[in-house]
Structures are given as C-alpha cells and as structure tokens.
Subunit: 531 residues, 2 copies
C-alpha cells in the first residue's frame, strides 16, 4: 500500500451530516443544558466551538497542526497477508497503523491539536490526567511543541508500576504527579486514609479539572470521549478512505476498540455515509472488553463522565460512573462510559458492539505478532480478535476487513509476559457488579430511572469533600465561608440576598466563573474568617 | 516527504564497484585466508556467497523478503523543521526513520533476510546472541515469519535489567538464554567462578557460535559487522537516494552511528559514487562514542571480531578484542571493532569519524524529542549530536544534512531518567585503557605489530577453556582425548600420524567440520575414555 495520499487538511464533523448524533450535555448543578461558558473556563474557545458545532462539516486543521501531523501522517495502511494465511481465509485483512506516531498511538492526533489551541488561547499551562500514560504522553509532546507547560496527574498504580511512560512525559518536559496528589483538594481527601492510595482515572480527572479551574492561566485537556477529540481523530478515517480508493478497494467492515471511543469515531465517522449502500452493508464494529462491557451490557442514559462527578452529564452508553472495572491490562478500555456521539451512532444502529475476554485478545495479539511482526497494544488486540473472528466466519468470501491498530505494545510487555507464562485470566465483569453500578445512574436527565435522586450538586460536593453541602454560617447572600468551593451559582444566589462583600473561607476554591460573576454583579469576594 | 518511492528490489554490493573495500578474512588457525567452507558450517550458502561477493553489483532481494520489507518500508524521510528553528540554522535537516519497523530499529532489515536464507537452506534452528536486545528481537521476528526455531543468548546483565526485550523475543516464540548459560562449554567455563556472571557480548557470541557448530541442523546469525549484514541494510540508502531525488534535493552530509557499522554502511554505501563531485564534496560522517572510539583512537589492523576469538581475523578499525568498554547506555555501540568494509572505506578517506560523549548525546536527544517528538535510541542520538554540530557550524548555509534515526528509545527510558535526574556521566574511555588493549592485537595478519604473538589457535583455546592446549595423552594421530574441542585441523593432523579409530573425550565438542573431515579420511571418531 505505498500509494501516497495527502494528509487531510480538514477534520470531519459528523454531527453536521447527522444532527441526531448530537445530544446536549446537562449541567448537573442546574439540570439544564450546559452553557458554553462553563466549558470555556476549561477549554480554549476554538475547542468549545468544535465541541458544540452542529453545522460545519469540515473544520480546517491549522497549518501548524498540519505540519506536526506530517511527522507521522499519513499513517500506513498495511495488508496482513501472513495472518490471512494463518487463519485460512479468503478475506483481505488490512490494518491502519497509528502506532508510528512519536508517542506510539493515535492519541497524538488530538494531543498536538489541544496543545496548539490552548497555547493560542493565551493559556500558559495545561492540566490533564492519564491512566497508563498514552494520553499523558500525547499532551506532553503537544505541549512541548508549542511551549506550553504540561502537568499530568497519573493514576497512582500506573505511576508506581510503569515508570517508562512517566519518564517519556518528563523527557518532553512535563511535570507528572502521582494521583491522588497533595496538590488538590480532591487528592488530599483521597490521600487522607492512605497516602499511597492507588488512585483511579476518575480521581485523576478530578485533580486535573480542579487544578485547571483554580488557575486562570491554565486549560484542561482530555484524551477521549469529547466531541472535539473524536473530531481530531477523523484524520484516520479520511486517510483510510483515500488509501482504499487509491487501491480500488471498498471496505466491508471497519473495526476498532472503544475506550472513550475516539479511535473508533475517527475510523468510522468518515464512512457513515457508506453504511447503507447497494449490495452489502458496511459493517462497523466497536470492540469492547468483557471486563467493561458498556455497550453490550450497559445502558444508554445520562451519566457523569467521571467518578468525581466533575464533568457534565453525558447521554451515552455507560456502566455507571462508579463502576469498578477489573484490573485488565487494556488500561485504555477501563472506562465506564463512551463518547456521546459514538454512543448515539451505535444507538441509532450505525454500527454494532462486540465484546472479548482478556485471554482471547492476547491469543489474537500473539498470532498477529508472530505473523505480522508488530506487538499490538492490548487495547488494539481487541480489534484483532474481532477481525480474526470475522475473517473465519467469512473464510470463503473475499471481504475487505480493515481494523485500526491504534498503538504498539512496547510498554505493555509485562502483560505479554503474564500471558506467555500462563498467568493471565479473563477478568470478565460479573453481571451483579454491573447491575449494582447501573442502579447508581443519576436521576437528572434520566426521567423514570430508578437511580439515585440526590441533588447532583450535593452529590458532586459530597464526593468531592466527603460531606453534604454545609449550611452557611450567617444569611446566604453575604457569607460563603461554609463552602469549600465557591461556584458561579453560589455567588449569584448569595447576591440575591444582600449587598456588600461576600465572605469566603481563607482556603476556599474560587472558580474563575465565580470570580467573573462577582465582578459582573459588582460584588467583592473577600477571603478571611474561620470556617 | 510523502512522495512514494518503491522499496528496492535489490541489495547494493559496494565491493563490486570498489573492490578495494574487500579484505579477506584470515583463519586464525592457519594464518591464511579463511576458506568458504568454514563459513558454510555456520551460515546458509547464499549468505556466504553474499559475504564473499566482489562481482555482483545488485543482488536480488527474494520476493518473500520483499513482502516482509513492505510491512515497514519505504521508511519515512522527514524534515526536522522545529529542530532547525531551535538551533537557528539555515541548514535543512532530514532524518531517515528506521524505528518504524515492527521491532523498532533497522536490525529488522537483516533479521528477516538471515532467517529466510537459513530456513531455505534447510536449517531448523538459528542461534544468535544479543546485547541489549535489538538484534535478538530482529532475528526472533524473522524466524517466527519463516517457521525457524530461534535461540538467543542474551548478555546476562541485560537479561536481568531489561526484561522488555526478552519478553518481546519470547512473544515471537524464541527461546532466550541468560548468557553465560549452562548450555555450552563457553558458558559453563564462564559460570564456574560465578553462576550470575553478568556476561558480555563476546561471551554470548561464543555461546551462539558453539551451539550452532554443535548442531548440524542449526545456523548462526549475527546483527552487524559482516558484509552480508551491511548488504541487507543498503535498502536504507537506496530508498533515501530515491526520496531525495523525488524532492529535488542533493545531500551535503550523510550521518549515522557506528557500532558494528551496518546502519552506516546501509546509509552511505549507495552514495559512495557521489563523494567526489563538482562543487561540494559529500560529507560522510560515522559517529562513535568516546567510550568506544575505535576509529578516532583505535588501529586499522587484523583482529578478532569477538573476545571469544571464535570469529576469523578481520582487517578493521579496532580497540583490541579484549577492550572492556565502559557501561554506556548505547549498548549497540559497545563493540571494539567495526565492519571490515566500513573500516576500509573510512581508511580510504571515503568518510570520516567523529566521537561524542554520553552527556552530549543525551542533550541532543532531549532537544530532538522536545522539538520533533520522537525519543531516539541512545545509539541514534550520536548521529543527532553530530548533525546538530554540523548545522550550527554551517548555520548560514542551506546545506542538506541527512541522518539515519536507526531506532526509537522506548526501551531505553531508564537511561533518559538518569539523564533527566542529572545522574549520568560521560563514561569516556581513558587513553591508557585503549593503549593497553591495542597492545593485545594478534601478530597474525599484522606483520611488524608489537602485539601478542601466541599461536592464535592456542590463544583461542586458552580463552575458551582457561588453559593452554593440553598435550594429548598418547601419540598425536590416534588420541584426541586431550582436546575439549575437536576441530577439522586436529582430525587432519591426527590422521597423518596413524590409522584406526580416533579417540575423543566423552564430553568433547566435535565440530561438524571435524566430523566430515574424519568421514572423508575414512577415520572414525570414538567417544570414550577419561580425560
């Protein structure tokens, strides 16, 4: 597949062609659609526009980002002839290899874009989180390119066990914090019982969001799930389309794994117009883990994107934001939810989900390595397992199957060792755990749900600080000292009840939106007093 | 640089254009030119032909090997625009990135070829050695592709400290032995004082050669230095030439690091005809480490290719086969010698060598990572340091500088950590150590040298078994029980002195050549008796 195709100059916004892909985010504090300004607090204006855009089909990729993409794009489309032979199939198996990016995965496609926009927006720092480290590497590299300081909260257990990814980020100049850290309130609360708490992605997100909110010069960045991340990844599918066209091929199936969903979105969204077509339907296959089967066993409902309840409510396939995923080696798939757009597409029947267990995917990965040479990341091995199954099922048909090899597994070799030595298990999630977690879906946004009905702001507060919303000492309207986080809403409410300075606790977190609300209302936030 | 160039269909044999590149190997046991049949004992016939070929300019790449090359070739040629900007130079810096091969380095180019020829030659197993693991990964992958069993002797210190590369090899199905191992005589002797001996590349080579010699169905494979390895790597330079042509560019300098010399040969040999040309001479730069400065501080002389003295004598730049290189992080450059052909080219003035210290190359690597995203292998970082120096020196000229980025540094992050934390030192080799080692050059092949003048067979024997050649009990000619290794020469000599069975020790290593010599002479080798 040596045909040279150009690197796309635009990202493809599927919501412009299929407006039903778009479901509004809901603000847990109001139960209403999230206002754009609560996103600009965290993200550069251009990213917020991308997030909410339902009109622009093609959004231009800035030249500076194009120049960076040229370092690894177009990524190769390769045929796995030896794998076909080993399976004994007439299907033609192709893979789009995103692992050649400098950090070894497709995450780079969004990392350089988010860093670029954040810097151009005048931010000096970016806070983000990372599980196993793939996304953390991407945002660290992107930040290094544009001269942005990067601080990454890395899930404690990964920080301890996988130093390589941490060193990679540090080599790009990023600061890496073991999460939970003493730097944020979220972290301090979690560390109270145990300083060496292993952390979780939910906690790390909470820390990064809190840190970004507390720093006017900072942005927050994230590696998947959001619409703009899916948008950035559409370079994958656009290139693939051109590569297949150049080779005179028409795909019969497109396959990628789903963690937050961005690689899948990037691969298949540019092909959504081809699903229904004369002859054989285009088969879009989203592959998940039986340890985290959000589509095959979860619900399509509004839920928090993180266990810290700091994100807005997103309509998506979810296992519940408090779902405790088993410790599988595919860290990138250990996410309870899924991009709203990807979820909606699957809900509309544009694509289907399948799930595999850990031993199956390592068996597939090993066969792939021995026939094609590349050691796949465990996440990508899910796509290989699904592709092999399809190729066996249709062994006598010349179907064109294309999967996205999202990244290499050079940082996952300890997992391969466990598999090689027969020490691995399947780690499927038991149904009871899934049902229990689904019972915790928020009532807001989910009419008729039997889930939790607590005021979502209280729920957020409680998670955050371990106590229900405190009653303010003194009349609401002048005294906010009882609150550990002073939000825009609190300032607005307090201002309705009086005039003069608003007293806040010495160590309260004042969100930038609260500060700006106070300014607009002509009120002054004064730190001091006890709590 | 998206211009699609074809993957070469031939390897380029520079010795056909420049016969003076060829210097015969000398058999240490006879002092004469090595007979081809002592090579076929270890290597497939086609590889031996390639090794000794001084006539064929272009040797066809077998279709099966071409199909494998297509998995990662053509490798990208990329421009390091951000690095140029950071340096403040008008030079155009390009890098040819070989790290996209499945195992992450250029070694794959020879790994698939050697495995293919060994299998086609009817061998069932291949024995090889590896230091840090790059070559071991390549031969393991190549063997997996063709259904050849691979056994790799891995230097003990790497085996203990760097499990990732070992797991990679095992995932390809290879057996990896910690060297020194109890499986060979060489290993057993070395383990006697200490079972956990850290080993050395010289020892590992000795084990692999011994194991291959003792097994009629096995071949030996090696990752650099030999002519056929350099030949296989010429796909790099041929592609580069086509890529530069397609972009309308003429290189002013080509830069690569030298361990055994194969990446450098592969890069520059296809350009040797361009060195002398109207206008500016093409600058060929071989970059070595100040810890192992074989060209800048060594001698051009006949020497053993390994400390075990199992290879023939090679005319090359060397620091002496017993040179103890400091423990730098660039394992691939910790080799006392250099490919005969590369040495001869440098000796003829076709190219020049420069040396850098460890801190300089990590400084260069970090600048490269932060501007271009890729984390280079420390070996390749030598080329980056040299390129940066050239680009600074000629900052006001639009020179085209191209270096070979032989591999990524994902398995070298612990070294980056040491650098990031300020715990690294330069590890240059002191002149006294170099001089002492050069004093040990063999007399054979080096008339007038003041070096060691011991019978090279005795020297080999002594290294191998820690004692001078034992006097055989009984008349030479009937009794070889005093010898731990029974060679072709011993059989021939013994047969001149008598008739009947030749007695050998119960645990003697009988080389296949000895066995065949005995058969030809109508003598029988009988194991038994004491020793």
């Amino acid at each position: 597949m040596t045909a040279a195709v150009p690197v796309p100059k635009h990202w493809y916004n599927a919501a412009a062609d299929l407006p039903e892909l778009y479901e509004p985010y809901i603000d847990p504090a109001t139960g209403r659609e999230l206002p754009a300004d609560s996103l600009t607090e965290l993200f550069a204006g251009e990213l917020v526009e991308q997030e909410l855009d339902r009109d622009t089909r093609l959004r231009p990729i800035p030249e500076e980002v194009q120049a960076r993409y040229a370092l690894w794009r177009p990524t190769p489309l390769l045929r796995a002839t030896a794998l076909e032979k080993a399976i004994g199939t007439r299907c033609k198996i192709f893979y789009k290899y995103e692992g050649i990016s400098p950090i070894g995965s497709h995450k780079a496609n969004s990392g350089v874009a988010q860093a670029y926009y954040s810097r151009r927006d005048g931010r000096k720092r970016v806070f983000s989180e990372t599980g196993a480290g793939q996304w953390g590497s991407a945002i660290s590299m992107g930040s290094s390119f544009v001269g942005l300081d990067a601080e990454v909260f890395m899930v404690g257990s990964s920080y301890d066990a996988k130093p390589s990814r941490r060193i990679l980020m540090e080599t790009f100049g990023a600061k890496v914090h073991r999460s939970p850290s003493p730097l944020t309130e979220v972290g301090r609360v979690a560390r109270k019982p145990d300083e060496n708490d292993p952390g979780s992605l939910g906690l790390a997100i909470g820390e990064a969001v809190e840190a970004a909110r507390a720093d006017r010069e900072a942005a927050y960045a994230l590696g998947s799930a959001f619409n703009f991340v899916c948008l950035h990844q559409t370079v994958i599918g656009q290139e693939l389309r051109a590569q297949l066209d150049a080779a005179g091929l028409r795909p019969d199936a497109l396959i990628s794994c789903i963690g937050g969903g961005s690689s899948y979105a990037g691969l298949v969204f540019p092909f959504l117009d081809q699903v229904e077509r004369p002859g054989r339907k285009l088969d879009l296959v989203a592959v998940e883990s039986n340890a985290v089967p959000k589509v095959t066993k979860g619900k399509f409902a509004y839920d928090h994107g993180d266990s810290a309840k700091l994100t807005p409510l997103i309509k998506m396939y979810t296992l519940g934001h408090e779902f405790a995923a088993p410790g599988i080696h595919s860290g990138g798939l250990r996410y309870h939810g899924l991009s709203g757009q990807v979820s909606k597409a699957l809900h509309l029947g544009l694509g289907r989900a399948v799930a595999y267990s850990q031993l199956e995917i390592f068996r597939a990965a090993t066969l792939f390595a021995r026939t094609e040479g590349l050691i796949p990341a465990p996440e990508a091995a899910h796509s290989i397992a699904a592709t092999i199954e399809l190729a066996r099922e249709h062994r006598d048909e010349e179907r064109v199957l294309v999967f996205c090899l999202t990244g290499h597994g050079f940082f996952d070799l300890s997992a391969y060792q466990r598999y090689n030595q027969g020490q691995m298990d399947d780690s499927d999630s038991p149904s009871a755990a899934i049902e229990a977690s689904l019972g915790q879906l928020p009532a807001v946004g989910n009419p008729g749900t039997s889930g939790a009905s607590e005021d979502p702001f209280n729920a957020w507060q409680r998670w955050h600080f371990g106590a229900p919303r405190p009653s303010a000492s003194g009349a609401v309207g002048t005294d906010l000292r009882g609150y550990r986080v002073v939000s825009e809403r609190l300032v607005r409410e307090a201002s309705q009840g009086g005039a003069g300075d608003l007293l806040v606790a010495r160590d309260a977190v004042i969100t930038p939106a609260a500060e700006s609300e106070a300014r607009d209302l002509g009120r002054k936030l004064v730190r001091g007093g006890d709590r």
